[in-house]
Symmetry: C2
Subunit: 367 residues, 2 copies
């Protein structure tokens, strides 16, 4: 008996073809060759994918569950993605919908090193939701971004993340930006007493990101942001293992919602690879996620499972201050609201508007 | 005047909304915030994306061309992907269709270091198409894979690539596999005189891949395979720069054809980041690409532009020996045909079947 992951795909197909389609996916995501050409019994028994179930979803879509051998993944997060959806992603009528992860696989990857409890502790928050905003636009000098960061922090916000577009550009070097923003936040913290955290965005190859984490730590920071689908899952996995004292925020950039279910990709897989906080487009904002998708995503990020720490759901993307009570009712206290552009509209009154945001979150009735 | 990339998106929208949608994409892929909140004139002038044109495609789809500032990308291939499609990938009614790359950007990335000419030279091929097959299934021992590699090479094939599922698993360590396959191919080459190349598949984080390239070179190899979307574009870029004597094959794993046009992703962007050969699903095989898509992809990979070397198109995926003449007529001599499972069906007669394949390619009339 070989350990297997249960991988569910949603496949558009007619009823007459679905069994053959399911078997083709099982082969594609494992040995990727005609079974008649395999003469090794152990490969046929232990490695070839197994169709475990086929359930109709509606007139022309089926949920197909394939058992894939855990052994084909090893301990590499990139290979996990490769085995789950590598070639099958090229079929535009298949969506990777869900994965049942064996406990041994979860233990091998480890999930968040800090999780919700660690992120709450960093900012001394009790039983309330957390608050976050974003530094932008790209194109501003490091000094101007530092001024913005200070204003956010004077409003008592918990976390300030770089916009994911802020990288290592000629007009805004990572080192300069981190120094200016860390200093701005530190000034505010001395005034407010609130331990606001600045979360710079990593970019480039693994070595560049490793250097950037070093720069961040040298400035007294203990949180960073990266986009797992841009950085590569295996590289995120390496950074999480290498910097156990740093909390990792995951950005959904390149997440291509339509082909991998967001609740799986962002809620489950980003968490598995070690994201302490997962940022995702909230319903009713600029993106098309439904309330159900957002709830399932948040549930996946927070579910008690296999001893893995919970990952903090961070709804974002076109959020407004006015929606704070509604969203806190929806997500509860184990969440962090991220409002970026809507706060930045306040310009010189940024600290005051931010303070209104943090007060609303602190005063909410978390039933 | 700031240098800009022209980025074309195909957007599903009604005619009344398309101008607003286009403007929203221009903002999303640049400053990602309300323009009213930006008080820096240089950001508004040089950084914010510009809607350059909107053309109807059919009843409910439009081609929207956005000018994005090259300065926001810097020299980082990961940031290129982030700026082209990061957040907009989360809208399931938008496809990243095409990019016009300024010459300076092409020069910064550099494209293939060897390209078609280098890959032809490695195997001493004159004016004919090249041949390739794939080692599989995963789950076979290194020794058995080595035997398969030797049989392929005895059939006179040009390139033998690892299946992209072959990673660093407990049952098949990279080192063991490379040693066994390189030795098998070397034995065949001594017999045939044909300099067949074995192309092992890299996996894991950047450091792991770097070690693997070292192992490959120590075994006398000068070609490797990786999947840019799994490895991360920036990490591929780093490896290409670090190992200028090694030729890189790019695998489309996780390419999610439906959301980034395959001709752009595989033909243009993989090439830009340094792929000497680009593997893609051929029309009429197991995947849904059309002949037009395949032709455009191959054209993008081979187009003369900005002094960049041509990348070798490698159609693959459910190909058969019988289709060789048809495909050579279609792709011409500047291509490499990859037949995997269909050759492996020959089992003990693998070398003979491979020889039939290589003879067909050598004997073809390349008009």
């Amino acid at each position: 008996m070989t350990a297997r992951l249960g991988v569910t795909y949603h496949v558009r197909s007619d009823a007459a073809s679905i069994e053959a389609r399911a078997q083709a996916i099982a082969v594609e995501q494992s040995v990727e060759m005609p079974l008649e050409a395999i003469d090794e019994p152990a490969v046929l028994r232990d490695i070839v994918g197994e169709v475990q179930s086929i359930e109709p979803l509606d007139d022309d879509r089926f949920a197909v569950r394939i058992g894939l051998a855990t052994a084909t993944i090893g301990h590499d997060a990139g290979q996990l993605l490769n085995m789950l959806f590598g070639n099958t992603s090229l079929h535009d009528d298949v969506v990777l919908h869900d994965v049942t992860l064996p406990g041994a696989l979860v233990a091998a990857f480890g999930g968040p090193r800090h999780g919700i409890a660690g992120l709450r502790q960093r900012v001394g928050a009790g039983r309330r939701a957390l608050t976050c905003s974003a530094l932008k636009p790209q194109g501003l000098s490091a000094e101007r971004l530092g001024v913005l960061a200070e204003r956010f922090a004077r409003g008592g916000i918990d976390y300030i993340k770089d916009d994911h577009g802020l990288a290592a550009q000629d007009y805004s070097r990572f080192e300069d930006r981190v120094r200016a923003c860390a200093a701005g936040v530190a000034r505010a913290t001395r005034a407010t007493g609130h331990p606001t955290r600045y979360v710079p965005s990593l970019s480039g190859d693994l070595n560049a990101m490793r250097r950037q984490v070093g720069v961040a730590r040298a400035s007294g920071l203990d949180c960073v942001l990266l986009a797992p689908l841009i950085a590569g899952f295996a590289n995120m996995q390496a950074l999480v293992a290498e910097f156990p004292d740093v909390a990792f925020f995951a950005h959904p950039s390149l997440g291509g919602a339509a082909r991998i279910a967001p609740a799986l990709l962002i809620g489950t897989l980003f968490r598995l690879v070690g994201a302490d906080a997962v940022i995702f487009p909230n319903f009713g904002g600029r993106f098309g996620y439904s309330p159900d998708t957002c709830r399932l995503l948040a549930d996946n990020a927070r579910a008690v499972r296999d001893g893995m720490r919970a990952s903090l759901p961070v709804p974002a993307g076109g959020m407004t201050l006015q929606r704070t009570p509604e969203l806190l009712d929806f997500y509860g206290a184990d969440a962090m609201l991220l409002i970026g552009g809507n706060l930045l509209l306040a310009r010189e009154r940024l600290a005051e508007e931010t303070a209104a945001f943090t007060r609303a979150v602190a005063a909410h009735d978390y039933r």
